[in-house]
Amino acid sequence: MTSPTAPQRLAPPSLSTLARTTAIALLVAAALLVTTVLPAEYAIDPLGTGRWLGLTEIASPTLVPVGTATATTTVLAPVQNGPLGVYPGEFTVDVFEIALAPYEYVEYKYQLEKGATMLYAWTANAGLVHDFHGERVAGAADGPAEESFDTQNRRQANGSLTAPFKGIHGWYWENPSGETVTVRLTSAGYYTSAIEIRSDRTRRTRPLRPLATLPAWPERPGGAGAQ
């Protein structure tokens, strides 16, 4: 008969070992945070590793321009000539209308180059929680990821925006009430795509209306846009 071997007990690590290993672990975690988590989750990429690894794309997917009057490769950045802003393509027009169920929200934004301009007017049949803001493109280092331009709760607004940076610019509208609220936005500008993000997390790009599809007004006898 053999006596069972007593289990070997490991002495707990000393305080100095714990402190050293914790410090090393914190350094490793901080490195992972800066090189991987921040670029992928928030498009914050101070070391450029996110761009190198393609992680910033996760945080801010590139918008694919759809159905615009201009060639999809055209960059609608203005060249300033005194009071004139001269663009390499036509502007686009858009009308967006949405019924927000109680407590739902939507974000609706346009892709604009730095300095590009748009005009807008929107109205709702009740007051909305509102944030007119812009989001920089992934990895941009010239400022915060998002900037708000107007956060006052509103029922309507008319204005123009000259994009302070390249990125998507537009509205967050939230229905704070128990009744459905309809919002209608009309805009025109040198944007190349529009994206709609709903509170149920669905995202979709929306087709924009080329200028050529607009009829002359008032229509002349003989059809829309007849000369």
Binding site: P13, T21, A29, L32, V37, G178, T180, D200
Partner: protein, 106 residues
Amino acid sequence: MKRTFRVMGIVVALIISGLSLAAHDKYRIIGTVAKVTEKLVDVTQTKDGKTITMDMTDKTVVTRDKKKVGRADLKTGLSVVVDALGDSLDELDVVEIRIVPPSTKK
């Protein structure tokens, strides 16, 4: 040395799990409370009748009219707007539950 690496591994794992919690996506669930316990809340969505089960953590806040109220105020049948964080509808941690007036039918 082996022990040093083992302890280091555990600490890294703990920190990374903490970071991954901070990296979740935002969800909004709108509906009525179907069931509530100390740690869980079931909300039946208004839009599709689907019931979502969510975890309530120590950081979960319950409000009514923009004022903080206790969890005991959360009762079955109440209309709520829930903002939660997670990777999918199956694993959400509640950040805030707003008790709101019931929706008016269209």
